[in-house]
């Protein structure tokens, strides 16, 4: 079937729409998602198609609505709870961390929680400290949560469809900058399994690992470096948990140099964890120290220039790649 170019938000809507049509257990709740069609228009038109029972506006009550979603999931429904900003998901952390993540283990595997929290994070347009965070590391840290961060419309659709067919809690983290970005998506049915990284660009000199909105930046950096004959391989893990270490390590074995880019603050981040996995499992493949390009350890400031300076930009990525290329571990004197 033919491919079409559609927006990230349309791809998400198609995934929800198709899965709602296929499975009566799927429903969605969130603030302003029904009548208003959602702040990012992801749910536009779904109320008309599926009715109030399955597309429901909530009061402003994140702790409660996340908890209600987890409860419904335990009972076998497939709720999608949309939280406007990942920052607001903090109100529901109790339900996510102490309940949803642990239920399957605590029940000896007899209980499952097919709960999907869709939300978005990241900087963009000066929405300041409480609306700009990249908080994936908080979820990544918790055993029992799956953490998905799609960077393209194709991935967004396939991963969300897969999320709605598996049985564990999923933190589906979108990015506010990506909703209007476009990409090719096939007309036909497909899903993308979790734990399968995607090589967004093949290359041989450096492995550049990036997810979510850092993927377009990594791709731009790779294109720029290509002008100087530098061949960059861009690896997008797509799901941070489960993490496709196999694809990452294979790329490292090929290029021997690694740069990891994350928008989130550096401290305690997923990039650091990926770096630790690489050094532990592929230390002798490396020709240079692993370099991380990350957000500064600061709340996101309002001023646009400061906001921009606080998270990785394309030139930062380019500079980091050049640095690992020109770094050679000195041979021990024989």
């Amino acid at each position: 079937m033919a491919d079409r170019e559609i927006m990230y938000r349309d791809a998400l809507r198609e995934a929800i729409d198709e899965e709602m049509a296929a499975n009566a257990q799927v429903f969605i709740i969130g603030e302003g998602i029904a009548e208003r069609g959602g702040s990012y228009k992801v749910t536009e038109g779904l109320l008309a198609k599926y009715g109030k029972k399955r597309v429901r506006d909530t009061p402003i009550a994140e702790a409660g609505m996340i908890g209600v979603g987890v409860g419904a999931a335990i009972a076998g429904a497939r709720p999608i709870v949309e939280i406007l900003y990942v920052d607001f998901a903090m109100l529901g952390m109790e339900m996510i961390v102490n309940q949803a993540a642990k239920f399957r283990l605590m029940t000896g595997g007899t209980g499952r929680v097919p709960f999907i929290m869709r939300t978005q994070g990241g900087t963009g347009g000066g929405v300041a400290a409480q609306h700009s965070q990249s908080l994936e590391a908080l979820f990544y840290h918790i055993p029992g949560l799956k953490v998905v961060m799609p960077s393209t419309p194709y991935d967004a659709k396939g991963l969300l469809k897969y999320a709605l067919r598996q049985d564990d809690p999923v933190m589906f983290l979108e990015h506010k900058h990506l909703y209007m970005t476009k990409g090719m998506v096939p007309e036909g049915e497909y899903v993308i399994e979790f734990g399968k990284a995607d090589i967004k660009r093949e290359g041989s000199d450096v492995t550049l690992i990036a997810w979510s909105n850092m993927v377009p930046r990594a791709m731009a950096a790779a294109a720029e470096l290509a002008k100087d004959g530098i061949s960059v391989e861009v690896v997008d893990p797509r799901t941070l948990s489960p993490l496709d270490t196999g694809t990452i390590l294979a790329s490292v074995a090929k290029t021997k140099r690694v740069v990891i880019v994350q928008e989130a603050v550096r401290r305690g981040g997923v990039a650091s964890d990926i770096a630790s996995i690489i050094q532990e499992q592929a230390f002798y493949d490396l020709d240079a120290p692993i370099t991380i390009v990350a957000g500064l350890n600061t709340p996101i400031p309002f001023n646009l220039e400061l906001e921009k300076a606080s998270v990785p930009q394309v030139p930062d990525v380019v500079a980091a790649v050049r640095k690992v290329l020109h770094h050679d571990i000195p041979m021990a004197a024989e």
Binding site: F88, L91, Q130, T298
Partner: protein
């Protein structure tokens, strides 16, 4: 609730009425200017205007004494101006400049002033409610008679932490006035669409907190209710709830297409309930002030607001080194 027509008499002094007129007009003109600067691209991010709700903060600020505290949501410009914060500093924060109250790092939603006991400026809906009770707790702990005005919206009233806070505030008899600014909508969701318990102050009764609904478009009614609440709190009788029935004329924020309500509804509120028109009427009808007197005030305010816009344009952008200040861990 007093409408415009019947309100031409009051036993309030000319000075007091002129003060309300001036303060409400300052907020309105300031917000109009902020809207313009937003339109010109000088203000980015979110910008939530307070136009329509001016009587609430102006009436309540008239009940305060030095030391009283206030805390509110992201719809905070009016509260800051009403408690005496400088229009220049507020506008410059909106443009993200060094001269802003948070040095350009907080933005429209996040400003503070220790000197004026203004504690923000919070972007997480409902977060200011427990914080406000905490401010009051500190005053009670220190043994003074200050009260804290904790403002939140009808939408915020559905957050669970509000009710945990109500319980503690009454249990511990904290000197906090919960001011629910019920403007009918939370973004595009009307009160009716988000709760079956639409008399919002009534929920406090379950925790033992007295409260009442007030015509929040009538600054005199606000003031009278505020005095009562403040007396209750200062005397050590614990919290009080004021549900201010008010209305925002503009969209939720600058990017709101406002499809959830009719233009007629908005126009009707403006025509029949406008808080500034009401005070104008109270001044003009009995001859307490002339058109000329009020025009002079209009001009004064226009100057203050224009000066704040100039200041906000001229104030330098914060230096990138600011990324490493005010951060300590």
């Amino acid at each position: 609730m007093a409408g415009k027509k019947e309100a031409a008499k009051s036993n309030v002094s000319r000075e007091e009425l002129l003060k309300y007129y001036r303060e409400m007009l300052l907020i309105r003109r300031f917000e109009e200017k902020a809207g313009q600067l937003y339109g010109m691209g000088l203000i980015g991010g979110f910008c939530h205007l307070y136009i329509g709700q001016e009587a609430v903060v102006v009436g309540l600020e008239a009940c305060t004494k030095e030391g009283d505290k206030r805390v509110t949501s992201y719809r905070d410009h009016g509260h800051m101006l009403a408690c005496g914060m400088d229009a220049n500093g507020v506008m410059a924060e909106l443009t993200g400049r060094e001269g802003g109250y948070s040095k350009g790092k907080g933005g429209s939603m996040h400003m503070f002033s220790r000197a004026k006991h203004f504690y923000g400026g919070h972007g997480i809906v409902g977060a200011q409610v427990p914080l406000g009770a905490g401010l009051a707790m500190a005053d009670k702990y220190k043994g003074n008679d200050n009260v804290t005005f904790t403002y939140f919206g009808d939408g915020a009233a559905n957050q669970g932490q509000v009710y945990e806070t109500y319980n503690m505030a009454e249990l511990w008899q904290l000197p906090v006035i919960f001011v629910i600014e019920n403007n009918g909508y939370a973004m595009g969701t009307s009160v009716k669409r988000s709760t079956k318990s639409t008399t919002l102050f009534g929920r406090g009764l379950a925790y033992g907190i007295p409260g009442e609904q007030v015509d929040g478009m009538d600054v005199l009614a606000v003031k009278a209710a505020g005095e009562k609440a403040v007396a209750h709190c200062r005397a050590g009788n614990g919290p009080y709830i004021l549900e201010m029935m008010t209305y925002r004329y503009r969209g939720h924020s600058m990017s709101d297409p406002a499809k959830y309500r009719t233009r007629e509804e908005v126009e009707k509120m403006k025509a029949e309930k406008d808080a500034i028109e009401h005070v104008r009427d109270l001044l003009l009808t009995p001859g307490l002030a002339s058109e000329e007197d009020l025009k002079a005030i209009d001009r004064e305010i226009k100057d203050v607001v224009n000066a704040s816009a100039e200041f906000a344009k001229e104030s330098p952008e914060p230096s990138v080194s600011e990324l490493y200040t005010d951060i300590y861990a």
